[in-house]
């Protein structure tokens, strides 16, 4: 069921250059002008003339099967379907006549004769398209009675099929199905999974998943596109069946991955009935994935903590206190520790899961109230090399394109990213373009789904060894230069000559040739050359990369090598090309933009820049430090040295997500006051002294900035369960520490952001409401934002080629640790899993497993499902084995969604040379069969159980008070 708040124009808008050419026609005597190629149905709908329809919807290509949208067109024989007939100049269309009414009534009688008539008890009642059509067309008494063969009477009809309720989020009731194929087409066209079909023919026709299996057992990825496309209640959210239809809605932005899908939260009072992707959302165009659409149950999960708690030591039970007491205690502790151990002994961590406004406040709290620059963010451990590498080469720390740019891409080069799992909605957009004929190069140690999936086949899979990205990228550049395939005119016009000449000399050196680097990358030189040729000559070529590029010892180098490749081939500054970092979390871009780094003020300006600092000092009324503060790993080191004692952590789980867990937990244990602001007692909170209950994205106002720099509104649809939105809590701490913050609404914080950050100068809530969303930079030069960057010149003026010398990581295999472990994500779970583990998504992935190549498994006597110990220099853990030929021999893989898995017990402290982004993607390990969990896991379980016990034993404060 589509959102009733989204009007449906019947067929999609035409995406072509011809859209500028308008065609004039008349519909029911009204003169109408629409772009050439538009369907008659859409032309009518655009002019408020509704043609009856059932199989047509504007998110899917016209199909022409329901025969309700027949019209009369002067000079044309018969009654053409208005959905499949394009407009023509001078066309005269009649949408309503006696004859048309008769024809439509005849069709409707047939539909109604095979559909139960108990509309009153149907979950779609009042919002069912079949019901609407019956009303519009007027089916009084049908000539075909209900006695004959049909699909809905279980007692009398062999064709009856019972509802399929296997999926945890939606049900399929074939008796309500009208076989319009909208679900099948949605799965094919929108999601690109092709999990559904119409089985049989004629009266036997039935929607089937895979080979007539249950939805859960099929290839269905539970994106819900079919549910949204269904015109009846045949496919319906279980929440709607249980709760009834929503009464109001609010447009907001998803809090999962960096695609930043726009949603309508459909509500009954304070309860979310369902999330429906917003048709006009510019990042997702009405599509969503299993997480964003369905996995929101965590927001009301019983384990949510909604009262502030404090304790003197982590071995004591928590005491539930009032907000006043919790805030006063926090401020007192921070000031005490600063008095005892110095100004720099405390710091704060911002979160990519929180809003821009909240992130802004945390860094402001640190800089203005703590009086130091000890602020860092989880982007440190994911995309900090993107910021560094793109700033150095192109001049701005962000992706160059909008998502829609992919529609004009001819060659996609995907390196170190797994879009169909980690950025599913954009993955679907990529698949759609690939089905249209775009070519695909994938560079990944593992054969990801995109390499071969129905109707999509990569031209080249460069299955490189983990850690050799830079060697591969250099080899591609070498091949392009050697074969003279670079865009000399673009380089001469747009790039710094000196840097290019220096780089040219470097890249031409024989050690950078595909042949020479084959030993490092493991990729045959011929494939590298062929892929390089395709990238350089295949038309609009775009690079998509993720954490498989950044989370390496040479993460920043690889990002610069990517920018070099794009500049070298002129693939930058227009639609269809560019450098596209796939951001992991919803607001990674935003948290970086908001000055979450110890060396940078908002807008990526160094803290030592006196002019910039002066602006902030004036606005904030306080002096600011000119020296960078501590990065996360430095904070841990300082804590272990006894110099760093307190940390304010907003919405981040350092203990699970940061590398070398045992080192992290040792550092956390060494601190005196850890303040965790979160929804749940996460792994870090088990080491905390103060717990401040946070709010979900449904409980507050703000903005998120997605991977394409798009700033979208997050809108409050319910009251914060704990009483305060996260920005209010930060503000209270600032006030208690004596620094004034008196915002009454996040829009006021955005005003301050716009005032102090040049790229956000034109952004305001009013402006976002007006435009729907805005891609920064948004200022006087670009009042509506900037979908594509670096169009006429680079942000830094001329593009700069950076030397990208390949240096193998120090994390090497040897006899003791002969395998390389690399990590990634899976579709149904999200990062540390704090949200998705508390939803039925765990049905698809209930534990992390170790993927291992059949050869490596056989050598070690490991069978599918065996417990295997994984040991590295840092630590060891135990997971179940999955034998997988997706892997290359010598490389093992796991996800990191469950704390007990201890994936980060194994990862080491190695990190990117420029940004300290951890080298998560390369860890030398050995894998052996074992019979029990590792020592760490047993210790972890004991500690975690004890902490849960301390939570259960929490005491009420003697003087509790409501917020």
């Amino acid at each position: 069921m589509r959102s009733k708040f989204d009007p449906d124009l019947g067929t999609p808008a035409i995406q072509s250059l011809d859209t500028l050419k308008l065609v004039q026609l008349s519909i029911n005597g009204i003169a109408v002008r629409v772009p050439a190629g538009t369907s008659v149905m859409r032309a009518a709908a655009l002019n408020d003339i509704q043609v009856p329809r059932l199989c047509a919807t504007d998110t899917l290509d016209a199909f022409g099967s329901c025969r309700l949208c027949l019209v009369e067109i002067e000079g044309m024989k018969g009654y053409p379907a208005s959905c499949t007939t394009p407009v023509a100049e001078g066309m005269k269309v009649t949408t309503q006549s006696t004859r048309l009414a008769e024809l439509r009534r005849g069709v409707m009688e047939l539909y109604v004769s095979d559909h139960p008539l108990d509309c009153d008890t149907c979950p779609a009642n009042g919002h069912c398209e079949l019901q609407d059509m019956a009303e519009v067309i007027g089916v009084g008494d049908t000539r075909y009675h209900h006695e004959g063969a049909n699909h809905f009477r279980e007692d009398a009809n062999p064709a009856f099929a019972a509802p399929d309720v296997s999926n945890p989020y939606f049900a399929f009731d074939p008796s309500l199905c009208i076989v319009c194929s909208r679900c099948v087409r949605a799965c094919d066209e929108v999601q690109g999974t092709h999990a559904l079909t119409i089985q049989g023919r004629g009266f036997d026709s039935k929607v089937a998943a895979s080979q007539d299996q249950s939805f859960l057992d099929s290839e269905c990825v539970s994106c819900g596109a079919c549910v949204q496309a269904c015109p009846t209640a045949a496919l319906m959210e279980k929440s709607v069946i249980a709760q009834g239809q929503p009464e109001r809605n609010e447009i907001t932005t998803c809090a999962y991955c960096g695609v930043g899908c726009s949603f309508r939260a459909e509500m009954q009072g304070e309860d979310v009935v369902r999330m429906v992707p917003h048709i006009d959302g510019k990042a997702n165009h009405g599509h969503a994935c299993v997480k964003g659409r369905f996995a929101i149950g965590y927001a009301t999960h019983a384990e949510r903590i909604t009262k502030p708690m404090i304790r003197a030591s982590i071995h004591e039970p928590w005491t539930v206190v009032s907000w006043d007491e919790a805030i006063a205690h926090t401020a007192r502790e921070f000031r005490r520790i600063q008095a005892e151990h110095g100004r720099d002994s405390i710091g704060g961590i911002t979160s990519s899961r929180c809003t821009n406004e909240e992130t802004w406040l945390v860094q402001k709290l640190v800089r203005a109230a703590f009086g130091n620059n000890n602020v860092d963010t989880c982007a440190r451990v994911c995309h900090s090399p993107t910021g560094y590498g793109l700033k150095a080469t192109l001049g701005e720390s962000a992706g160059t394109q909008n998502f829609d740019s992919v529609r004009k891409t001819d060659v996609m080069f995907v390196i170190g990213a797994n879009p169909t799992d980690a950025h599913p909605v954009f993955g679907s957009a990529m698949k759609r373009r690939l089905r249209e004929g775009a070519r695909l190069i994938v560079a990944d140690p593992r054969s990801i789904d995109l390499v071969r999936t129905p109707h999509v086949q990569a031209d080249y899979l460069l299955q490189l060894k983990p850690g050799s990205n830079v060697a591969l990228l250099n080899a591609m550049a070498h091949a392009i230069v050697e074969e003279g395939l670079h865009d000399a005119a673009f380089i001469a016009l747009r790039c710094e000559d000196a840097s290019f000449q220096r780089w040219l000399t470097f890249i031409r050196e024989p050690r950078n040739s595909p042949e020479a680097s084959e030993a490092d990358t493991g990729v045959p030189a011929a494939s590298v050359r062929a892929a390089a040729r395709l990238y350089a000559t295949g038309g609009n070529a775009a690079i998509y990369y993720g954490l498989g590029v950044t989370e390496h010892a040479q993460g920043s180098t690889a990002v610069m090598a990517i920018a070099n490749l794009a500049m070298l081939t002129g693939n930058i500054g227009r639609p269809g090309v560019g450098v596209n970092p796939m951001r992991g979390q919803n607001n990674v871009q935003g948290s970086c933009d908001m000055g979450s780094f110890p060396h940078e003020l908002p807008g990526y300006r160094h803290v030592s820049d006196n002019a910039v600092r002066a602006e902030f000092e004036k606005d904030w009324g306080v002096g600011l430090l000119a020296e960078p503060g501590l990065r996360i790993p430095n904070m841990f080191e300082a804590a272990l040295d006894g110099e760093f004692k307190a940390l304010y952590i907003q919405g981040e789980d350092l203990a699970q997500s940061d590398p070398n867990t045992q080192h992290v937990t040792a550092a956390l244990s060494a601190m005196e006051c850890i303040v965790v602001q979160d929804l749940f007692l996460n792994e870090t909170a088990k080491f905390a002294h103060v717990f401040l209950p946070g709010s979900t994205f449904l409980e507050k106002d703000g903005t998120f900035t997605n991977a394409e720099r798009r700033i979208s509104r997050v809108r409050k649809v319910m009251q914060p369960k704990a009483g305060y939105a996260d920005w209010e809590i930060t503000q209270l701490i600032a006030q208690a520490m004596g620094y004034p913050m008196h915002y009454t609404h996040p829009s006021e914080i955005m005003e301050e952001i716009a005032r102090l950050t040049p790229t956000f100068a034109g952004v305001s809530y009013a402006r976002i409401d007006e435009l729907g969303s805005i891609q920064w930079p948004c200022n006087d030069a670009a009042p509506e934002g900037t979908p594509i960057m670096h169009v006429d010149e680079f942000v830094r003026g001329k593009g700069r080629f950076m030397l990208t010398e390949y240096l193998p990581t120090t994390e090497r295999v040897n006899a003791r640790f002969p395998l390389i472990l690399t990590t990634g994500r899976i579709l149904s779970q999200y990062n540390v899993g704090a949200q998705t583990r508390r939803t039925p998504n765990s049905l698809w992935h209930s534990e992390d497993v170790l993927e291992i190549h059949p050869h490596d498994a056989e050598q070690r006597g490991i069978a599918e499902g065996d417990w295997v110990g994984i040991a590295s220099r840092a630590g060891d853990t135990v997971l179940r084995a999955r034998i997988s030929s997706r892997m290359q021999a010598g490389v093992v893989y796991t996800t990191f969604h469950f704390p007990f898995s201890g994936a980060n017990v194994i990862t080491t402290e190695n990190s990117d040379w420029a940004t300290n982004c951890p080298e998560y993607k390369v860890t030398a390990v050995e894998v052996t069969r074992v019979s029990q969990p590792s020592e760490w896991q047993q210790r972890y379980r004991a500690f975690s159980d004890a902490q849960q016990q301390l939570l259960r034993e929490r005491r009420m404060s003697p003087t509790p008070a409501a917020p």
Partner: protein, 169 residues
């Protein structure tokens, strides 16, 4: 996206011999345009039916989804997913044959075989299928037994066809 710890195989897996034979059919045809129908015909010719366990391999070879292949197989009545009897008799039920006595033949078959259309006798001797025109209208009524067309059928001739299949009298 399959759930954990739950097997989802659609049917019995293929044995090694069938697997080899299937690959022998698919491999030479996979690259031709519109290969799905020719492959399905070849599989049915080889195995007498299209075992559901073949579908994943065919889908993978052509880079289609299992659902798409299943949709095609189930759309065409000629493709079957279960083994037929030892003999397959297809009786034409189109207009010309009906006008020339096909209904009598239908009644004869139903009564002697004790089965309806799309069914197989309990002893596995014969499978009865309807067909709508074999292009032999001038010689109606018509049936096809194991691929051979028989025209101008009378109940006597039909009885002897059944006898030849070893159907009990």
């Amino acid at each position: 996206m399959k759930p954990v710890a739950k097997s989802s195989s659609a049917s019995n897996p293929l044995d090694a011999d069938m697997h080899l034979r299937l690959e022998g059919i698919i491999t030479p045809m996979a690259a031709m345009p519109g290969a799905l129908l020719p492959i399905l015909h070849a599989v049915q010719d080889a195995f007498g039916h299209v075992p559901p366990a073949c579908v994943p391999l065919i889908a993978n070879a052509l880079n289609l989804s299992r659902a798409e292949v299943h949709g095609v197989i189930s759309f065409y009545h000629d493709f079957r997913s279960t083994p037929p009897g030892r003999h397959v008799l297809k009786l034409c039920r189109a207009e010309a044959c009906q006008a020339r006595g096909a209904r009598e033949l239908e009644a004869q078959l139903v009564s002697r075989l004790g089965i309806g259309f799309h069914e197989t006798t309990a002893d596995g001797s014969i499978t009865l299928e309807p067909v709508y025109c074999l292009g032999n209208c001038a010689c109606a009524p018509t049936a096809m037994l194991d691929g051979t067309v028989h025209g101008r059928l009378s109940t006597e001739r039909m009885a002897s066809l059944l006898d030849s299949c070893g159907v009990k009298k």
